[in-house]
Point group: C2
Chain length 314, copies 2
């Protein structure tokens, strides 16, 4: 059997190297190289060239190399084979590092203290809130959302979560569905978005949602952290909410178009932190091993794990 690696936007060589080391008895080809379509049994994909999987008669499964599978679902020529999301501790830990870092940055007002340092000003405010005074709300309670919730709780934050269908997470107040959204937003000082991008969630971070966040919090206005997908956010609405004071700050790892256009006002807005879609980067070492394990399971007749429900889109 042969593994087809179809990647755009990332360096492909480290992935090919990793798969060749992990699967020494099998052939590993990159899309664009010559190969016989009939020999491809598995595909590993990140933003593959659309149509790349359309005419592979013996394809048995596609593995997404990053969190999220919207890059696959957007391909109208995607064949009807099982798709697996990557679920990897390394990826999960990195996402939680990012989320906890930026929640603490705002809790501890590090941006303010950086400005005071630049002015050589010693200002020891004795009224800063503790973590327990700050309500973090996580949208999306899959593996990533649950891990971030646990770590934020350990740090002392008051954590709630929202998901499409009801979920129970220890120590976390959970809300679900459109009927639970208002109550969730009304108690949220820092909104952390880790939702998958689907037809239902596209553009969900818009003026209407931002306007429903808590106004009575201890941070001087709500903070948005989006480390999910750029398609979840309406950047014009975020900028307007910042300018109108509906939002105090936005930490964005993802954008409507990536890389972010150098002309975007997000780069220079004082309330915005831009990171280059690296909150939780797929490392070939860890993610490659997860894919190799998935292939080995299928070859042994075991069911595919972390299989995507195509009707839900994630």
């Amino acid at each position: 059997m042969t593994l087809l690696v179809a990647i755009t936007g990332w360096e492909v060589e480290p992935w090919l190297d990793r798969f060749r080391r992990l699967l020494p008895d099998r052939r590993v080809v990159a899309s664009g190289e010559p190969f016989d379509p009939a020999e491809i049994r598995y595909a590993a994909a990140w933003k593959h060239p659309p149509g790349a999987f359309a005419s592979l008669p013996n394809l048995r499964a596609i593995f997404s190399l990053g969190a999220g599978v919207d890059h696959l679902m957007n391909d109208p020529a995607l064949p009807d084979v099982p798709i697996a999301r990557v679920v990897d501790d390394d990826l999960t830990n990195r996402m939680s590092e990012y989320v906890v870092l930026h929640c603490l940055m705002h809790l501890r007002q590090q941006r303010l203290y950086d400005r005071l340092q630049a002015e050589r000003r010693w200002w020891d405010d004795r009224h800063q809130p503790a973590a327990r005074d700050v309500r973090v709300g996580i949208m999306g309670l899959g593996v990533l959302g649950q891990d971030a919730a646990m770590k934020l709780r350990v740090m002392g934050f008051d954590v709630a979560g929202w998901s499409r269908s009801p979920r129970s997470v220890e120590g976390v107040a959970t809300f679900s569905g459109s009927e639970g959204l208002d109550a969730f937003l009304a108690r949220t000082d820092i909104l952390v978005c880790l939702l998958p991008l689907t037809d239902d969630t596209r553009g969900i971070l818009n003026a209407s949602l931002l306007g429903r966040l808590a106004r009575d919090g201890r941070l001087g206005g709500p903070v948005l952290i989006n480390a999910g997908r750029g398609g979840l956010q309406v950047e014009a609405d975020i900028l307007r909410a910042l300018d109108e004071g509906t939002l105090k700050a936005a930490i964005l790892d993802v954008f409507e178009r990536e890389p972010l256009d150098p002309a975007s006002p997000l780069w220079t807005h004082g309330g915005v932190t831009v990171t280059p879609h690296n909150a939780a980067m797929s490392a070939p070492d860890a993610v490659g091993a997860a894919v190799a394990e998935g292939i080995s399971r299928m070859e042994s007749g075991l069911p595919l794990r972390h299989r995507v429900d195509r009707s839900r889109g994630y």
Copy 2:
């Protein structure tokens, strides 16, 4: 009985208010106000005027209002009564917020990404280390050090600790005494100093110590976080180590003299983060309650908790 509140450097009114609400049947006076020395039974102190406790014939105990008691020990006229350190969950949690924040800032290279944002540069480096690749070493394994160690472990860091006498902390490699210091430093990428200030520890963060930190780490040079006491550090040595590349960055919450002199080069050095001794601020609400509980215990004939060993100085 009367409680004497002796504070300099902080606003005293919130403390007096808090104690008066907590101890409605007792008198609470501030140093500087008129009172009969014989009526003082307890004292609550933060950087008290030296000698303030010298002639109080009925003084039974002194409570320090902040972490650390060096401000008391420096008073040659300190009477020989029991001294209690404040141990308070709120103070402990705040210190850990600060430590975890600054460890994550360096793990995730947030200062670098801030600079890239200012240049509108999208640079998604796929080779950044994970928390498990970064070795944090905590000097001081009291209540604060142990809590920070636990939270850093939850975030995935590789954590070790050093203390004067041997300590055992779950999941943490521990080193002790001068014989354990070299091995501890040699495996430390981020050094977190939470030591008490005593004759033994004064100036311990000097050129010799900084030169023994790990040179083979994943952060591009060792990082120092001092949230203990300014007297632990030799600021000229820290600046030289930064300039010579022995140290990559220093995050300092405390200084040889506070407030930090506006002329200090620490304010403007690119490798230094200055915060105004607010890593773990004593909040009158929480700390006042801990002192009131300590007084109540003594009045009931129970032993004082968190009592200072004056021979060790902490």
